[in-house]
């Protein structure tokens, strides 16, 4: 029994549902400018593996040691479309330094996704999540939702809704994270 002795308690059991978060360390001003929610301590990101548009398997572990921007999106999401060009620019500028944008498309048909990706000229990998399992794993209930992950594979911050990822603060954040040392061999 839950030991609540001073107050009545209404406990809800929820199918999908945390804790308070605060901005973190010297990155805080950048997180604030971008209106990102920082994790009080860098949080281990849930592991997942999914198929890509090209038919490969992709997992977060494949990108260990990189700074990752993990973006959940869908073609019907107007706000997702608005931030796609910025994500693509980030990918093109920072990929050579150990950076990756990973898109997770939520519950859409492969052909629909492929047309959209071609139309917008996206070059970053897109993981398909046809049954929404990755979506649930990350607690995403609205799009776009974006998680920023450091070289140590731990999440630094997340955003619900679109952001100016290629603006001055976005680029400065990625630069700062890329300047952090990569974990040694065997360190997740």
């Amino acid at each position: 029994m839950v030991p609540i002795v001073t107050r009545w308690l209404l406990a809800l059991c929820l199918i999908g549902v945390a804790g308070r978060t605060v901005n973190a360390e010297p990155l805080a001003p950048l997180l604030k400018t971008l209106d990102l929610r920082g994790y009080p301590e860098r949080a281990a990101v849930p592991a997942f593996s999914g198929g890509t548009l090209e038919g490969h398997r992709l997992s977060m572990a494949d990108h260990r040691g990189k700074v990752i921007v993990l973006n959940f999106w869908a073609t019907w999401c107007v706000e997702c479309r608005s931030e796609m060009p910025a994500l693509e620019r980030l990918q093109r500028e920072f990929a050579p330094r150990g950076f990756a944008v990973l898109g997770v498309n939520v519950r859409e048909n492969k052909d629909v996704i492929a047309r959209y990706v071609k139309q917008l000229g996206l070059t970053f990998p897109v993981v398909l999540d046809p049954d929404g399992k990755i979506n649930v794993l990350y607690g995403v209930i609205g799009l776009p939702a974006t998680f920023v992950v450091g070289r140590d594979g731990r999440a630094i911050a997340f955003a619900i809704g679109p952001r100016d990822w290629y603006g001055a603060a976005g680029r400065a954040l990625m630069q700062a994270l890329l300047d952090e040392p990569a974990p040694g061999p065997g360190v997740r």
Binding site: M1, V2, L10, L12, G16, A18, G19, P46, I141, F158
Partner: protein
């Protein structure tokens, strides 16, 4: 999220809202932030002890069925509302409140 809108009303009655699910704290954080929930969510992952002990574990999906439990200050469950599986209907405080008031004697 019905409970968010009703939060002040429950708070005024001395009722603490808590959410429990079988999700990771990581996903709960995203969920809570998305909805700007004003009350805590508790992760019962991976054991699902609380969910099971309250009898609302869906063994097939290993998730919690939707349910509400009213627990008194002595830790006794005084009322429960089990929402039928697959129901997506939002449960508003308007439905729960009269029954809660009756149980806590503030009618």
């Amino acid at each position: 999220m019905a409970r968010k809108a009703d939060f002040k009303r429950f708070e005024g009655l001395g009722i603490q809202n808590l959410g429990v699910s079988a999700n990771l704290t990581f996903s709960q954080q995203t969920f809570a932030e998305s909805l700007k929930l004003p009350y805590p969510l508790l992760s019962d992952f991976p054991e699902r002890k609380v969910i099971r002990s309250y009898g609302v574990l869906n063994e097939k999906t290993m998730t919690a069925n939707r349910a509400f439990f009213l627990v008194d200050p002595q830790g006794i469950v005084r009322k429960k509302w089990i929402i039928e599986n697959g129901t997506t209907t939002v449960v508003y405080g308007d439905r729960l409140l009269p029954e809660i008031l009756e149980v806590i004697g503030k009618r």
